[in-house]
Amino acid sequence: MNPVGLFSAFRVQQKRTENAYTCSLVLNDSLPDALPGQFVMAWLPGIDERPFSLSDNDPVRITVADVGSFSHALNQLQPGDYLWLRGPLGRGFIPRGRSHLLLGGGYGAAPLSFLAKSLCAQGDQVGVCLGARSRADLLLVEEFESLGCQVWLATEDGSAGKQGLLTALLPEAQNALKPETVYACGPIGMLTTVGAWARTAGLPAQLSFEGVMRCGVGLCGSCELPEETCQQLGLAPGFLVCHDGPVGEISPNHFS
């Protein structure tokens, strides 16, 4: 059966503040064979278990916004504390070509930092568009810059970069970078907009979805994407975020 199905105990090695309500937990080991875009189920016994994509794997790092009771508990962890993970689970990004455009809306920046790191390490050209409500909500900007990515920013209040949604950055980033593949993670509205844009631009897109995750291994059906979303994006109906995703690949040919 699935060898990654049981929990492994990690210790928090370092806690890094990313913004006023988000921290990254750097753990004491890496996960064998984890790919950018894959996720883990993180467990605190007696509290809860939730999915997180990896924001790095050398060693494991998850980036957690303090937005609910479980993420609050994670934000309270200190170096030396245990955190239990099962994974890596699901299908991650499959890099195609040598020029890549990464689009991160809000917390969606997290899995893209792991992807950017591996793409930059092989000498590829990487552009990153990040969007958030305001400058204070942006995540991992310096990390992308220090990796050598070209970074474009958009904020809804205009406090950093272009005023508006991340999708407003797409024409400029496309012109500057001439990407061969687009990779996106963020709210579902952003992903459907990106999917439609990629179709028009004739670009293959890899979209990382969120789902209500329970079993995490393709049995329970709770993370199924709504049929309308599948239809809009040209994904086969019955797409399970944990098994078929979290990354779903959209080919421009699907829309012909």
Partner: protein
């Protein structure tokens, strides 16, 4: 030798193959059930539905390890009335594919079983599977009805009175004499038996010093369950003459052949979906056909019950 025939008949239904999507796996929406049918399942069982909506247990609800899977989802379902429209939509999608729909039901109290069955019958599933053996709700519902001949028979009687559709009673492995329970439900009008449900079990995380599942215990499935399922079906097949849907830990064509040899007419597939996804059905069908061809079996009837004699 010509290609062996995997088609079979079950309670008057014609199936393209004997593999059934077991209850509790992927049976939550029309699109997922259609996907399993398109992937090669011969029949589909929906996830168990009760009288009221339930959100189920908190996470963690599932863990797997090399020998199997442990789950305690907690009977998550939308409630019988909402389930009817979901099943109607599913039936409309499965009918053109020639794939029958089995609707699984449960209830916390004996008297609720008849009512849930009556409501679900409105969707006209091809069979109602009566789950009297969920191991994960004992703290709320008490001892499962599958635990004794009397309580299993009482549920069967209630459902039999409520609906005229074919019914199959799903039995639990953790009883001293499953053959007597099978006889008791058949005597009350069960048209078929589904055996077995998962086996109550526990995993503890040593570092956490706690049970892994939030429900503490869960139902064991996957390879570790297979020998238990084979023994149960073997005993039931000797005790009753109704068809058996043999379920538990089967993940290959050889496993399916072994379950048929124990006396099953149909073969349930559940946890095996973990490794392959819904495409598991086409793989197991191919393996079963290959096994039959290599060993000179022309049709399923030649395999069925082979280990009983």
């Amino acid at each position: 030798m010509t290609t062996p025939k995997l088609s079979c008949s079950f309670l008057g239904m014609n199936l393209s193959n004997p593999l059934v999507l077991a209850s509790g796996v992927l049976g939550t929406s029309p699109s997922l059930m259609e996907r399993a049918a398109l992937s090669g399942a011969g029949a589909i069982t929906s996830k168990s539905c009760g009288p009221e909506e339930r959100s189920g247990h908190p996470n963690p609800v599932t863990v797997s390890w090399e020998c199997g899977v442990l789950n305690a989802i907690g009977l998550t379902n939308p409630g019988a009335h909402a389930e009817v429209s979901l099943l109607r939509e599913t039936k409309a999608r499965l009918a053109p594919l020639g794939v029958p729909l089995f609707a699984s039901i449960f209830a916390p109290r004996l008297e609720d079983y008849g009512e849930v069955a009556r409501i679900i019958a409105e969707a006209e599933p091809d069979l109602i599977e009566v789950n009297i053996s969920c191991p994960n709700v004992a703290s709320e519902f008490g001892t499962p009805f599958s635990a004794s001949e009397e309580s299993a028979a009482a549920v069967t009687r209630t459902v039999r009175k409520a609906v005229s559709l074919p019914i199959s009673i799903k039995l639990a492995p953790n009883v001293p004499e499953i053959n007597r329970i099978a006889q008791a439900v058949v005597a009350e009008g069960a048209d078929a038996i589904t055996a077995i449900n998962t086996m109550p079990a526990m995993l503890i995380d040593a570092t956490a010093a706690k049970p892994v599942l939030s429900n503490r215990t869960g139902g064991l499935s996957g390879p570790a369950l297979k020998p238990i399922a084979l023994r149960c079906v073997y005993e039931i097949a000797q005790a009753v003459s109704v068809p058996i849907i043999g379920t538990g830990g089967l993940s290959s064509g050889i496993d399916a052949a072994e379950m048929l040899m124990a006396g099953a007419t149909l073969v349930g597939i559940g946890s095996a979906v973990i490794n392959d996804g819904p495409s598991v059905f086409s793989r197991i069908c191919t393996e079963l056909a290959t096994f039959m061809k290599d060993n000179g079996y022309a049709q399923l009837g030649d395999v069925r019950g082979k280990a009983l004699t």
